[in-house]
Amino acid sequence: MKVGLFIPCYVDQFYPGSAIATLQLLEKLGVDVSYPPDQTCCGQPMANSGFEHLTGSCNRLFIKNFSGFDYIVCPSGSCVLHIKHHLHSEANEAEAAAMRGKVYELVEFLTDILKVEELNVEFPYKVGLHQSCHGQRGLYLSQMTELVAPAFSKPRQLLNMVKNLEIMPLDRPDECCGFGGTFCVAEEAVSVKMGQDRVADHLNNGVDYITSADLSCLMHMEGILHRRGSKVKVIHIAEILNGKRN
């Protein structure tokens, strides 16, 4: 199987460490993975702001870069959800449809396709797991508290394979962090309040790290943590699973 690595635009520019960890983790698991260098952005920032009609060139670029792969894997729930729902092509809709079925967020790729059962890594810290909304409610990476349905969690499943990692319980396990795309600046007051409340929940429950499958949420919470001078750090789940130690 050939896997194309899809790295969100802001991860490429600001959090390359998480992208490197994703690449290394897949390579360690024996995956033939490569990174199409001309990729840019999935188009979500425009689409969620009401400008989906401007995402044609992003779509074209995406299809051009990622055709020919068996799977497309990305360390971001929200970008994957966007592609799954909104990748279209005027020229070749059948190809777009096929591609929508091949794109996977990293965690679900590991649990559902590679069916990873063990990881030889350690992360001896107290970790707060932030369920990003798009990953959880959009991609069903884990059960949501709204539904009367059996509990499950793919990220937790993977984190449980990491030695000495303690997942701390939260007061509101799946409340939104408030990033929301351009919402984070368009409705800055509410966005920040939501982020501060999320961070407070983690801090109140004694975490050393906050992890998630989405760096947009982490970037927002990190901004708040740094502003308040907190020692708590954010870390993308790929880095934990890849064996990062501090």
């Binding site: 490429d12 920032p45 702001s49 949501m144 709204e146 795309g181 800055e188």
Partner: protein, 448 residues
């Protein structure tokens, strides 16, 4: 939108905690129903059927209700609704009316119209009476004064109902309201209620309250007027079992409201009227992407769970119906006025998953954004920046150049972005600037 509300952080926390508590009560109640999700799916399908057969059901309801002696009126819009109510009162020389909770009448601004025409209206639901005394709109469709603290309510009662200053005891204040409203119920010849559900099969309609105020008004009045949105129809009486099981558990976590009153025929010698109101609903029905919003049974669960609503309050939505459901109903009535509402959301999806009739609220929020922008109601600055963004992100070399430029500026001249003109920076630090982008790292470390 929420800047004002947000200025008092303690108050925001209080409002947020109160509504989250109600969400938790809802969770406790629904988890006791093993087949809750099946119930939601069933209700959703019943409502889908209703929307697809609405014309027939409305006519069936009208025929059955009329045969029962109920007088059926049709109002194309809010103005006509208000006129019908006024005429009914004037015909009987009535100048005072008692009203129980009806969000439809808020939508129509009925009270204002009646007051302007010499009719005194008293809202009998305690929460509604409180906001009436405060001269405010309700901030939540089920909990009208959830935004008010008990001290504020105590002050209102002191000013308007003569209770002792400083008394904020809920028991005492409720007892005061009971005595005050009892006198109103006993003296009003006209009572107006809302309608929770109307049954096409039998012509009856159901009104649900915890306080008993709808009944106290209706059973003592000479004329009972019921105002109803045309989408409140359900096909058969037995379907009430599904909706009454879902409604209050979703709204407040109670298994059912204290009273679920089924009105079929007027009392002997008295009048019962029902006004079927359109006011934009038939237009919404024609919008393929948004018609599902008409399935709403007005439970308010979406508001209780919405992290944005909880921290902004209902008034920041500047429409009779607030929260996620308000944001997908309002633009249909006036897209320009309510253009901001669908954007006041992170699209987290919690609302869609508590909705007892499975309205795809968060998907509709996304779709409304596209419509509103296409219709030209996006701010110019946004249009320009989005076009620029699409331009850059649609081209590999432009994207890489822009990314490098941004990182360089942030690295060499952080003050250029770390300042008050950057809304992100107001309360959050910017991310650290890495030496290389992932693309640059990959080129060096992987490409042979």
């Amino acid at each position: 939108m929420a800047e004002v509300f947000n200025k008092d952080e303690n108050r925001v926390d209080w409002h947020d905690e109160t509504l989250w508590f109600i969400r938790k009560k809802r969770d406790l109640a629904v988890k006791k129903i093993d087949n809750w999700e099946e119930l939601r799916e069933t209700a959703s399908q019943i409502k889908n059927n209703v929307l697809s057969n609405l014309s027939n059901y409305l006519q069936e309801f009208e025929a059955k209700a009329s045969a029962n002696g109920v007088i059926v009126h049709w109002a194309a819009d809010a103005v006509e609704h208000n006129q019908i109510v006024l005429n009914l009162l004037k015909q009987q020389g009535i100048t005072q009316m008692v009203k129980s909770k009806s969000m439809l009448t808020e939508e129509c601004h009925l009270n204002e119209h009646l007051e302007a025409n010499g009719i005194n209206v008293i809202d009998s639901d305690l929460g509604e009476r409180i906001v009436q005394l405060a001269k405010e709109m309700p901030s939540h469709i089920v909990l009208p004064c959830i935004h008010k603290k008990k001290e504020e309510i105590g002050e209102l009662f002191h000013e308007h109902l003569g209770t002792p200053a400083g008394n904020a005891d809920p028991q005492f204040l409720t007892e005061t309201a009971r005595q005050h409203l009892r006198d109103v119920f006993l003296t009003r010849r006209a009572a107006l209620t809302g309608v929770n559900f109307a049954i096409a099969e039998t012509g009856e309609f159901v009104v649900c309250t915890n306080e008993g105020n709808a009944d106290m008004g209706a059973h003592l009045a000479d004329i009972h007027i019921a105002s109803m949105g045309i989408e409140k129809i359900i096909p058969e009486r037995k379907h009430l079992s599904v909706f009454l099981r879902l409604l209050t558990r979703s709204a407040t976590g109670q298994p059912i409201t204290t009273y679920s009153s089924h009105f079929s025929k007027p009392r002997q010698g008295k009048e019962m009227h029902i006004i079927l109101v359109d006011n934009g609903r038939s237009i919404q029905l024609g919008r393929e992407d948004f018609r599902n919003s008409l399935k709403c049974i007005r439970c308010g669960a979406c508001m209780n769970t919405c992290p944005v609503y909880r921290r902004s309050g209902g008034h920041s939505y500047h429409y009779a119906i607030s929260g996620p459901i308000g944001a997908i109903l309002a633009p249909n009535l006036d897209m320009e006025k309510y253009a901001d509402l669908p954007f006041a959301s992170t699209l987290c999806g919690s609302c869609s998953n508590v909705c007892p009739v499975k309205i795809d609220i968060h998907d509709q929020l996304y779709k409304w954004r596209q419509v509103i922008v296409q219709k030209g109601y996006a701010p110019t600055a946004k249009k320009v920046s989005m076009q620029a963004m699409a331009n850059v992100l649609g081209s590999s070399w432009k994207y890489h150049a822009a990314g490098k430029a941004a990182r360089t500026v942030m690295h060499l001249a952080p003050f250029a972005v770390n300042n008050k003109f950057n809304p992100w920076y107001k309360h959050r630090d910017m991310p650290e600037v890495p030496e290389k982008s992932f693309g640059e790292w990959y080129k060096i470390n992987r490409n042979k």
